[in-house]
């Protein structure tokens, strides 16, 4: 690969009025790897995701995806470029079935015309059929295929996370953003999800996640950035980060304060 960088964030700042949420944030997410963003509550992690997915615009700095700037693009265009995300506070479509939820994610890839919809042409029927099969496949990937006709609202918390995961994959992303993917999951579910995330990476996707569960992050990520009060205080492999004095201080406080 000539350019292994998938996502490149350079000198990004974000302020709301006088409140500086992010300052001079720079890091790069390489293709084919799992990248973690950690930091104490309120450090600005979700703001980074909102900037990358176009829900917010950076006050300064550049965000590039595979060499093209994302700044100023609306969210749906960024999804089209190949970035998908899940949310910290799950945002599935509760009144729709699991299968429909995943099929919404395929919106961009169903290219039949309005006339094809009205006349129910062969092209439309076969595209819908393929989409259903693919949605079913994605659901079975997260172990929810037997609930495909259920309303999403009736799922357990952990299952809702899995559904959101399948729905994000349905957009056919090159980079998957996961906002606290294991929150609310039990240890065995975490282990399974860890395996699935590794699988996704091995298929060539990039994974960029925010996570609080340290054991999960350290065991899974190839590289980690640490955010504290809106600034990157450390970046490197899990081992480098774990032993960085600034990181220890951010998480545990200074020794002489204790």
């Amino acid at each position: 690969m000539s350019d292994p960088t998938l996502l490149s964030i350079r000198n990004v700042g974000k302020h709301f009025g006088g409140l500086h949420v992010l300052q001079d944030v720079s890091f790069e997410v390489p293709a084919g790897s799992i990248y973690g963003l950690i930091g104490p509550n309120g450090a600005g992690k979700t703001t980074v995701f909102n900037l990358v997915t176009g829900l917010l615009e950076p006050s300064n700095g550049t965000i590039e995806f595979m060499g093209n700037s994302l700044v100023g693009l609306p969210p749906q265009r960024i999804t089209h470029r190949g970035i998908a995300r899940t949310f910290q506070n799950i945002r599935i479509f509760k009144e729709m079935s699991l299968l429909e939820n995943v099929m919404v994610g395929m919106h961009d890839h169903l290219n039949y015309s309005p006339a094809a919809i009205f006349f129910n042409t062969g092209a439309c029927r076969s595209a819908e059929k393929r989409a259903r099969e693919r949605a079913f496949e994605l659901l079975s990937w997260v172990g929810l295929e037997h609930k495909s006709d259920m309303l999403a609202d009736n799922l357990s918390y952990g299952d809702q996370r899995k559904l959101e995961f399948a729905r994000a994959l349905a957009t056919e992303p090159k980079l998957l953003l996961l906002d606290e993917p294991v929150a609310g999951m039990n240890p065995s579910e975490k282990t399974i999800l860890m395996e699935e995330i590794r699988n996704i990476r091995d298929r060539g996707y990039g994974v960029f996640m925010i996570e609080h569960d340290m054991r999960f992050v350290m065991g899974l990520c190839d590289r980690i950035a640490v955010l504290n009060f809106g600034r990157i205080i450390a970046e490197g492999t899990p081992d480098e980060v774990r032993n960085n004095p600034d990181v220890i201080e951010a998480y545990l406080g200074k020794e002489d304060e204790a």
């Binding site: 609306p74 749906q76 945002r91 009144e95 919404v104 919106h107 957009t171």
Partner: protein
Amino acid sequence: MEWFNDFWSTYSTLVFSVGVHALLALSIWLTLSCGLLSLANAAFMGIGAYVSALLTLQLGWSFPAVLLAGGLAPALVALIIGAPVLRLSGVYLAMATLAFGEVVRITVLNLEITGGPEGLNGIPLLTEGWHIALILALTLYGLARLRRSKVGRAFEAIKEDEVAARLMGIDVDRYKLLAFVLGAVIAGVAGALNAHFTFFISPREYGFENAVDIITMAVLGGTANLIGPVLGASIITLLPELLRSLHDFRSFVNGAVLVLVVLFLPKGIWDPRRFRGWLQRVKGGRA
């Protein structure tokens, strides 16, 4: 066949009204399915009615062309006002579309060509039963197809969570505009059909009360699928006639029925999920 002829000569207007109201309820169902609470559909119906009636009266266009124009004229208006108005959501959208409806009503009231407060008289009775039946069937079919396509899923996704819908690659603004404009087309055609069987139209028929009536039909029937709005429109149209024997108590009972339905069946009369719940309880009771 004699009884049928008797029945038809007495009740054909009523049957026509059921059809037209069903179209109107479906037009608001479409905008509601995208999460848009719009009160503009009565005004769109009025625009369709006036444009089509004037084309018939002044220019003598053929009826199919008149119906087409009756659908396209409000669509054009919806396209123009949609861009600014659809930035609003919830009750703010309802207020803006309500204001738009008043602008349309007052404009029609003061223009010379529309006959002002007297309205338009002597519109040829061109609408026949099969016109309404055919257009209603086509609308039902088209909407049923739409529901099961990516467009219907996009509408539903937008209704549930706009941000999540955007992140699924859906161009939310365009789909909202599409729902708004398609709703205007259906309401406009309904207005055109209505104008050509009532002989007479006036601004009074397209005001705030009618906008609320249209929403009531859809909500009373239920918005889960296409059966609800048609059922709601039938009930709202037929109930006052069925209660005719009650004379002075008629509007009282009419209102009471609506209040009871809204209180006890908040999702409308036709609610598949409630039916499924009943079915399961019946099965469970037997087991």
